[in-house]
Amino acid sequence: MRFSVPSSRAGDRVAAVFPVRLLNHISGQARPFFTFGVVALAWLLVPAAVKRFTRAALFEAQAPVMVTVERARELREYFVLRSRPTGELIAAGKETANALAAYEVGVGRLEQLEADNTRLRALLGMTPGAGWRQEHATVVERDLSAWWQQLVIDKGANHGVPLDAPVVFAGGVVGRVREVRAMTAVVALVSDPGVRFAVVVEGDPRPISYTGGDNPAFGPARGTLEFVPTDITVTGGAPHRLLTSGKGGVFPGGLPVGLLTHVEPSADGLFQTGEVLLPAALSALDEVTVLVPDATAAGLFVPPATDPKP
């Protein structure tokens, strides 16, 4: 196959900037590789703004597909539930009613504590703590690869979700918002090797550096700890609970992260490194809550303190 050069002036201009004539001197076998090289070179010259725009446009184009697929999945689950025997549904309804009653009592207690907290803060002359608005979202895509761990949720800039907002679930921290689009947002999971923040061991105020870690197949996600003080030890049956430290400005303090299951001396001998077992539910989440900073919202949301199960 030979490439022809149009005789028009436009064709001459194209031939001047693109080595069309050169292609005719390259043997057939090498021509695809030469073309690949030319495309790669051209890609390097594309302005970053154009790449950013294209990336955003392609993401936004895929977002309705992701959301529609999720809605179809919900519809399937709805019909699966409809096929259940009536007796089973009645039993599930009773169980839900009991749980709801227990939660109502808990909410009353929380309201009382919140009122006490506000009164005591006023007595001490303290400024009220930053509030958080809870934005509940459905996970529309889980993407847990060997190199990155992320979720796509069905809430984005249109719902006021900001970049770097903390995301939580009933078992603790899910991660932080890495990317915000109009109708969706990408959440970097706490197991993502690129996620790093400060945690504390429950009952110990010293901050420790946490990083998402190795995530083996067929097992719960893991994280690693650096700069663990040498006086923190882990005995076989009693792993320490890790909580967010509240330092760093992303996560509020006191949210459960995982369990510190193993520590060993670091190379410099001054500190220890540790292994963190993250909640198994982290890789099967369907619903999450984004904590959106809101000065008008009172109180701090802290999810129930449930231990992560391996």
Binding site: P32, V39, A56, D143, L144, W147, E179, P193, P216, S283
Partner: protein, 176 residues
């Protein structure tokens, strides 16, 4: 619309459908910390049977679509896939590319090649990866998935090309 553009759009539509199907599978398999890679299937037909520009364009745009949702430099998947497509496009005159088993074998090999390319780029970009055990397991799972769904996917692509009124027979003759 020209024949080449229709061929590109038909192949691209097939590739995007595959991406959605594999994303669904990955969503479900996330609980096992396993992820499938559709690279080989995206490349095979485009490299073996499509026209030079149409095949490359369909593969490149599908790669950009994968890049849009991944935390990697934009263009990473696109060039990894385009590289694999280029290799098998250069080899295609030496292969019995009309035979389905050959196309399936090429899809598996292209999947492995593009997976290794992606791993190399990720390593060069400084992304921390899981252990070798998980990488090998995912590679094996991806190859099995490719073997299982390749005939269906090739049939889907042929059907889409037929609907776009651009069969691959002319291309097969031109490059034989």
């Amino acid at each position: 619309m020209s024949r080449g553009k229709r061929q590109t759009l038909a192949l691209l539509l097939g590739n995007l459908i595959l991406c959605v199907v594999v994303a669904l599978a990955n969503h479900t398999m996330a609980d096992w910390q396993l992820r499938l890679w559709p690279g080989g299937l995206l490349v095979a037909t485009a490299a073996l049977l499509a026209g030079p520009g149409a095949g490359a364009a369909a593969v490149f745009v599908a790669g950009l679509a994968l890049d849009a949702t991944a935390p990697v430099p934009f263009g990473t998947h696109a060039f990894v896939l385009l590289g694999a497509q280029t290799v098998f496009y250069a080899l295609r005159t030496r292969l019995m590319r009309n035979a389905t088993p050959v196309r399936v074998a090429v899809a598996v090999l292209a999947g492995v090649l593009s997976w290794l390319g992606l791993a190399a780029v990720a390593k060069a970009a400084g992304l921390t990866s899981a252990g070798a055990g998980r990488l090998l397991l995912e590679l094996a799972a991806t190859s099995v998935m490719t073997l299982l769904i390749a005939p269906w996917f090739f049939a889907l692509q042929c059907r889409l090309l037929y609907l776009a009124q651009v069969g691959l027979r002319a291309e097969e003759r031109r490059f034989d």
